[in-house]
Amino acid sequence: VARYAFAIDLDRCIGCQACVVACRTGHEIPAGETFITVSDIVRGQAPRLWGSFAHQRCFHCAAAPCVTVCPTRALTKWNGLTAVDQDRCSGCGYCTDACPFDVPSLTDKRVWKCSACVDLVRDGASPWCAETCPSQAISFGERTDVLAGARTRVAALKRRHPNAQLYGETELGGLGLLTILLDRPSVYGLPEDPKIPGMLTVWQRAVQPVTTGLSALAAAVMGVMFVVARRRHVREETDRA
């Protein structure tokens, strides 16, 4: 089974928003929604400035909390990517609470989130953003290849940007979107150590097994009740006869 991933190289990103436009056009995203937001980050005072671009979009976590909480399987994992089936979405919004990166959002009672263009990827093509990026800042492919390329870039960038680092190699089981940062994650508004929300762990480890247990118990009780009731019924019939 393939495991796909993106890498975004923030040393190459020029902030042109072409990925945003390609994504919006390719997916016919309604006004007010977007799968990608590119914003600029500036520190210092003119003319001594440091700047970079932050990309807010789905990180395609291996252990994706949104997939865990989704009760209708509208969110699923497919070869390392977190796919979306809007037709199955009930609009409950559990995913919006569970995501440690605040990615999914609800419009018209449906979830809107990057699905990594899985329909295109299935056909052997690249996602719109990677295909469009004019500065080759976005790459896409087998995660092992993408990861190797990203590591090489970080090593080269360390000379110019001592704090350069790769984000997403191991976080949350390894993200499907690796980001080559020029500085610490917090500079980009990213959690330094993203965690699955505590309640979600409880949900996964305790509530789900317990509810499954309770459902099984209920089914068992129902079964016993049925047998008991049937016996009584049969007995009554026999007594009457």
Binding site: I14, G15, C16, Q17, V21, A31, V42, Q45, A46, G51
Partner: protein
């Protein structure tokens, strides 16, 4: 282009009676917009070729709507940079409406004059020395500075900022503000003000102001962008906003036009190029 405006009004050094406008966004490009409008009114004939109902198109006697870039061939683009390349534009679809490509319009209009046309075989180095000249003997002979030197421009008067303008990666000139997906990304421009200066003026990021220049010309309301990215004595806006034409249904009335505020310009005596960053503005709080 701005040097054609004065002859339209005065007839000197030669009269200009008609104008064919193509690939120029006249009322967003040429400084001193009221003067441009007077000049347009003084002409006998104006022909506009465009893909959009831009502000200046409403001033034309005849409009020849051009096919969009997706519907036409364009001139072959041959670029002789360090890495030379040739770019060819091919139509993706037939024109949706009754429109023609610019080259077709030019050819049809030029046909009566083709006989007078002679090929120009000038050498790329038609200098007296036949070399690339940094020190120009031709300029010296004309009594101009043969090796031009930097001449400082005046500083902004007290209470005013130098008005700078430039591009954003989202929009192309004054052409794309009405394009739905680009409009959604950047519907209006902002006036960049140094954040320390903004706080001294009591202006917060996102506040609406009008920009008024040294000649009292005022822009439409525009938002403040308080940022460390600009020097304290300048303000900046992205070019291409502040469309007036109602046909620009989305862009109409959004943001401010830098061209409208450029009532003055400095002319380079050698190239004829216009320096437009010589206008000074102050910020008037929107009440």
């Amino acid at each position: 282009m701005q040097e054609l405006i004065e002859p339209m009004l005065t007839g000197k050094p030669y009269p200009i009676k008609g104008l064919v406008l193509y690939g120029t966004n006249l009322l967003h490009t040429v400084p001193d917009v009221p003067r441009t409008k007077r000049a347009l009114a003084a002409l006998d004939f104006v022909l506009a070729i465009d893909v959009l109902p831009q502000d200046h198109v409403a001033w034309a006697d005849v409009v020849l709507p051009e096919a969009t870039y997706l519907e036409r061939h364009d001139d072959l683009w041959a670029c002789g940079h360090k890495t030379p390349y040739i770019a060819l534009r091919e139509p993706a679809i037939e024109p949706l409406h009754d429109t023609k490509p610019g080259w077709w319009i030019a050819r049809e209009m030029g046909k009566p004059y083709l006989a007078d046309f002679e090929a120009d075989n000038a050498s790329p180095f038609s200098t007296p020395s036949k070399k690339v000249e940094l020190y120009s003997s031709a300029l010296a002979a004309a009594g101009l500075e043969p090796l031009p030197d930097f001449e400082p421009t005046p500083d902004a008067p007290s209470g005013y900022f130098r008005l700078l303008y430039g591009r954003s990666p989202v929009h192309t000139f004054a052409r794309t503000q009405n394009t739905p997906v680009l409009h959604a990304l950047q519907p209006e421009n902002e006036i960049w003000v140094n954040e320390a200066v903004a706080s001294t003026l009591g202006l917060a990021h996102g506040d609406r102001v009008r920009v008024e220049n040294q000649d009292g010309v005022r822009s439409g309301p525009v938002r403040i962008k308080a940022t460390p990215r600009i020097r304290p004595d300048c303000v900046f806006m992205v070019h291409g906003f502040g469309h007036q034409a109602p046909g620009m249904t989305r862009a109409h009335g959004k943001g401010a036009s830098d061209a409208q505020l450029q009532t003055r310009y400095a002319l380079d005596p050698i190239s004829g190029g216009a320096g437009l960053r010589v206008n000074f503005v102050r910020l008037v709080r929107e009440t």
